[in-house]
Symmetry: C2
Subunit: 388 residues, 2 copies
Amino acid sequence: MTEVRIAGVGLTRFGRHPDRTGRDLFAEAALRAFEDAEVPRADVEGLNYGNFIGALAEGQGHQAPLMAEAAGLRCPATRYEEACASAGVAVREAVRTVRSGEADVVLAGGMERMTHVDTPTTTRGLATAADDLFEVRSGVTFPGAYALMARAYFDAFGGDRTDLAHIASKNHANAVDNEYAQYRREITVEEALDSPPVATPLHLFDACPITDGASAVVIVSEAYAEEHGLDAPVAVTGTGQGTDRMALGDRESLTETPAARDAATAAYEEAGIGPEDVDCAEVHDCFTIAEVLAIESLGFAAPGEGIRAAREGFTTADGDLPVNLSGGLKAKGHPVGATGAAQIAELVRLLRGDHPNSEHVDDATTAIAHNAGGTVASAVVHVLEVAE
Amino acid sequence: MTEVRIAGVGLTRFGRHPDRTGRDLFAEAALRAFEDAEVPRADVEGLNYGNFIGALAEGQGHQAPLMAEAAGLRCPATRYEEACASAGVAVREAVRTVRSGEADVVLAGGMERMTHVDTPTTTRGLATAADDLFEVRSGVTFPGAYALMARAYFDAFGGDRTDLAHIASKNHANAVDNEYAQYRREITVEEALDSPPVATPLHLFDACPITDGASAVVIVSEAYAEEHGLDAPVAVTGTGQGTDRMALGDRESLTETPAARDAATAAYEEAGIGPEDVDCAEVHDCFTIAEVLAIESLGFAAPGEGIRAAREGFTTADGDLPVNLSGGLKAKGHPVGATGAAQIAELVRLLRGDHPNSEHVDDATTAIAHNAGGTVASAVVHVLEVAE
């Protein structure tokens, strides 16, 4: 089986880009990735592109060929849509394509523009990630859905809003030095607690923002990297994907995310490692409670114990397992269709030692990315390792 | 490399299904495919699902996990969106996954519901397959775009509306006996000519209808088929995908579809065959002119000669190369996100000899499917062969 390397990564700044088109944003991320990789565009054999609500927010479906053109590519181009896990799936399929020998170079990434439309449109757009017939029509939006999960968690295991506020505060602190982050300012636990309620027990600072941005990752075979003398020290050694029932009401538990657990199990198995081998993680913290469920599903905390991880310092920048050193979705921002590949890009920078927060993971060799769709009806997990 | 077989296919009737949900339609297609394949659902390792305008027409994105649930599957599920080529891409990636050894059984298919929304919504939804900034805002809709291509073709090579009317008449004749077709009635060339104009030179009977429907194909490795004693005589021996510039105004020619040509070249090369080896084809005739461009891009007619193929009997049911024996998009119907896999399903039935029109291709061993996105900014081509 062909080994898979990441030759380069590119990101736009995450935030508000009212004056830029989607193709402009993606072209910037792709340009940076190609410059970072030192791979010529002519060698690219496929574009795997993630986008979620482009048809609603921009009147633009069929974005893959458009983005290939914007990125200067002439190759098969495919859009993946898996709600907030769209780019994670795009990366996964690129990894599998390169691993299979079908291609030596694939560009994977994503883009979302969300801040230019009004809030009802954004809310309705994001709600298309939930079950329209059995959730959305009953009034469930995403803050509400994750609030239900937080309540169920508190009921089952204890924990409180202060635990969640520590997660928000941690992720904001991590974002301060990240040049691509939407919110580069610290918030205190008290500020998070005092922010206005959105869907009890979740308050404003428990939620990630609405964000524009793009991401791109150049995925190559080890053979291609060697042949071209590329500096591509990070390998993708495991990929996994999981699926769960869509509607919360159809699930056996609101405090577990089996799609993520299945994805993690598969990714760990492929990589031949376990949670104990991981040095840092980027997880899908669309809400603070989501980070709790994520680290439990990845095996970093037992059920009911993830809630204390940030408060007790386990997942802080200088903790045993730094989580979301990028700032996470919470502070770095969440351009939905771009997020999965952006997580990979941040981990690659961290492992290569050229991330502003690399100092916190000096000897790190192994990282994991967790990207979830909707209320984790789908999930994608990747294991990255510094190659020998 | 693992050989890929199609173990079973399933379709709903194409047409109007105002009383059924999307998940209901897809569940029916999947049920039929599993019954046809005699493959247990527990063996399925992935669902590749195509859908185009679900977020706009149904308020439902993130459909892949929903459809996995509806089909009784618990496995990774991914949505592919490539406008009208969505299911073609879903099939292609399933073929590549099985071929690579990553999985032995993948279900590929798609679904679209379009008839329940009003015409402006459908038209706007379909227009998201074109370039929103440089085409749609200038008033280009799909009938208009294909009318421009028809005009350019007539100018370059000659041909007239009567040539196109023969294509419509042929495809309607083919649909009469197809139990899944939307329009099971013949139309004469005169009726086609006399139908009301839509976008000159295209009239109503040059266009495919608006359609609800679903399709599913069970794709397995040859080893799995043998081990389980499956009756799976049809192999996928070639797959190709191509991409072109999105906006018609950015292309070098309006009378060529290089995305389809590239896809066909790749598919033929993988299969080790050429156009002369093909016994029958399903091509993407969203408009009659599209069938002309399709057969030229597949190498069945030289540039400028495809226009006469139906009129001269080359592509009719008893011609040298029957095209769209299913009725095509034109008469069978075009539930956009389902079409690519439906074409494969029809070809499998034709090659196995259990299609109502199999009598027209008695000794057929080789077939080709051509599925296009938008104005062929993307295209997917598959070669199917009866295995030895």
